[in-house]
Subunit: 341 residues, 2 copies
DNA sequence: CTGAAAGCGCTTACAG
DNA sequence: CTGAAAGCGCTTACAG
């Protein structure tokens, strides 16, 4: 394995000069630089990042913690994060973090505590105070994309507004009997994503002088297709009064709900209007109206913040206003129509 | 940042002893070990992996290269890989590798060439000879899960057999006019996944004395839902004779095809039987018959091979027979029925 | 512009 | 069972 000393010897300079020539830090005579570069190329020299990290204290690695990798939204984010990180010459260390428990503790207490990452990007995770404290203690930048947690830079769409907009769209179409399929924990934790979307729903309803008629109109389930399907069957299969429109907390839930409607012989949008949140890649094909967001771009933006906190990039580049929510837009397709009277 | 010298001082031992006590390598008196452990816990000491790597030459990190993270199959694999790697105390460095080109070269020439990973796990990538050579040169284990490439340990289902089985299932139900939606490049590269599945299809057809009637019966498209939708419209919208059954190279393609059929007023399975490959999480909900595989388990198995090549785990643990294909099974649901006569 | 030297934080023969 | 010393492969003040 070629070391920098080999390069130095071949180029007839000291290790220090070779290092400077290759890294671009410090002044080196152009002719010398050329000789060093040729020597390096000749023996296929690649610097050992570990050795460099040891002295610089920087690993050029960002740790990404994420609750699912096989869910559309997170996959998109991850792809945007990876692309942006690699373009900046950074490695991406991936950590899948589930529900609180031993495995999760291990990620925080062991993997993230070591000096292996320069920063942590937390995607869609509800960070507990102790976890955030443990990260802060390391004195490394922590950036949150979605999820919840206080004290770190956080980027997110306005989930409450998204829920409100989706609901208002349905109200605007003349619906009044509107149900909501919320994500798990929506009622218990009003500040996490499911809770915020649910609040938007409730606020829009009460602003319209409508209160969901009892608990039956807000069901909680996993924000996945099966979650939407199961809770959809529960909602639509009930012999009582049926809603004419449903706002689901995610597009995947909406797909499940549509499937459930199909099974029960309920036509969308004839008998039932459906709106989701996300802008899932399948939404267009299914004609799903949705409040769209761009997870890939969000991942790229979040990495941009991480990089700036690490002092990379144009010096003067200011941090984006993390107070401003990430963009969303209403995309109306065929799943929502004016209520027939 | 606490260093091992701090631990040593606090425990009243040398750095060498502290290192041995903490790592468990080499003999240390039980009482000494206890004192060192308490000292470490007291100051929250965590060893620097970079420093350790420098001397041991091992990074306890595996590089994973993958062509998509936001496709169901790959997401599942990645989750299985991540879980298994973390359980073994390894970090996962993620590299998204696309079509040949500058970005892809950068991953091989820069990121993977450094001494940062102990092994490389390539998931579903068709590795070129030069790329494989570049990895081999590093003298690190390389394991392939799916995809193609020669000279490295490779785990995969038998894609040809999967294509054959799917086709035979349709033949068995009395279908003879059967079309195939293949993945991109199937005809050009018979040894990569799309090509192997296509070969299985063609072999089963000719064994039954049937030849697909011209090119129209084998279309190529992206192995995604939109790919299946577009090529499905092309196939089913054609005014000529229509197939009574279709074998799609993936479940996601099948979903797209079913959507296309729906749009054209063709009933599944009444007018058209459909079978896919994968065992996608949505397959059950859509009633899709499929040749199921378990990507999560495959990822875990592949990591097992990597770990054994790295000398981890029970010594005597033999390598699994990489000649034997990974398991698949036919799951019959409502999308395939006997041809009405 | 260049070099000699120190040092980043560990682990591992080598002695004892 | 334990310690002193060397060294992994770099980078960075410090001189010159």
């Amino acid at each position: 394995m070629a070391a920098i000393s080999d390069v130095a010897r071949l180029a007839g300079v000291s290790k220090a000069t070779a290092s400077r020539a290759l890294s671009g830090r410090g002044h080196v005579a152009p002719a010398t630089r050329l000789r060093v570069e040729q020597a390096a190329a000749q023996i296929g020299y690649v610097a050992s990042p570990d050795a460099a990290s040891l002295v610089t204290g920087r690993t050029k690695t960002v740790g990404v913690i994420i609750p699912h990798v096989n869910r559309w939204f997170y996959g998109e984010v991850l792809e945007g994060v990876e692309r942006t990180l690699l373009a900046a010459g950074y490695d991406l260390m991936l950590y899948h973090v589930g529900a609180p428990g031993a495995e999760r503790d291990r990620v925080f207490d062991y993997f993230l505590k070591r000096k292996r990452v320069d920063a942590v990007l937390s995607v869609g995770i509800d960070l507990e105070a102790s976890e955030l404290a443990s990260l802060d203690q390391r004195d490394k930048p922590v950036v949150l994309l979605g999820g919840s947690g206080t004290g770190a830079a956080r980027l997110a769409i306005d989930d409450r507004a998204a829920g409100q907009l989706a609901t208002e769209h349905l109200l605007h179409l003349g619906h009044s009997r509107i149900a909501h399929l919320a994500g798990t924990g929506a009622a218990a934790n009003p500040h996490a994503v499911p809770g915020a979307r649910r609040r938007g729903f409730l606020e829009a309803m009460s602003a319209a002088g409508l209160t969901p008629a009892g608990r039956a109109d807000v069901l909680e389930a996993e924000m996945s297709l099966p979650g939407g399907y199961e809770s959809g069957l529960q909602l639509l299969g009930h012999p009582g009064r049926r809603p004419t429109a449903v706002f689901t907390a995610s597009d995947e839930m909406a797909f499940g709900l549509m499937r459930a409607a199909d099974r029960l012989g309920i036509a969308v949008p004839g008998d039932l209007s459906v709106i989701g949140v996300d802008g899932h890649e399948y939404a267009e094909l299914f004609g799903l109206t949705t409040v769209e967001q761009d997870p890939g771009a969000q991942g790229a933006t979040a990495v941009g913040v991480v990089l700036r906190l690490l002092g990379e990039g144009p010096d003067a580049d200011p941090l984006p206003d993390s107070g401003a929510p990430l963009p969303t837009r209403l995309v109306v397709r065929s799943s929502t129509v004016r209520l027939a009277r």
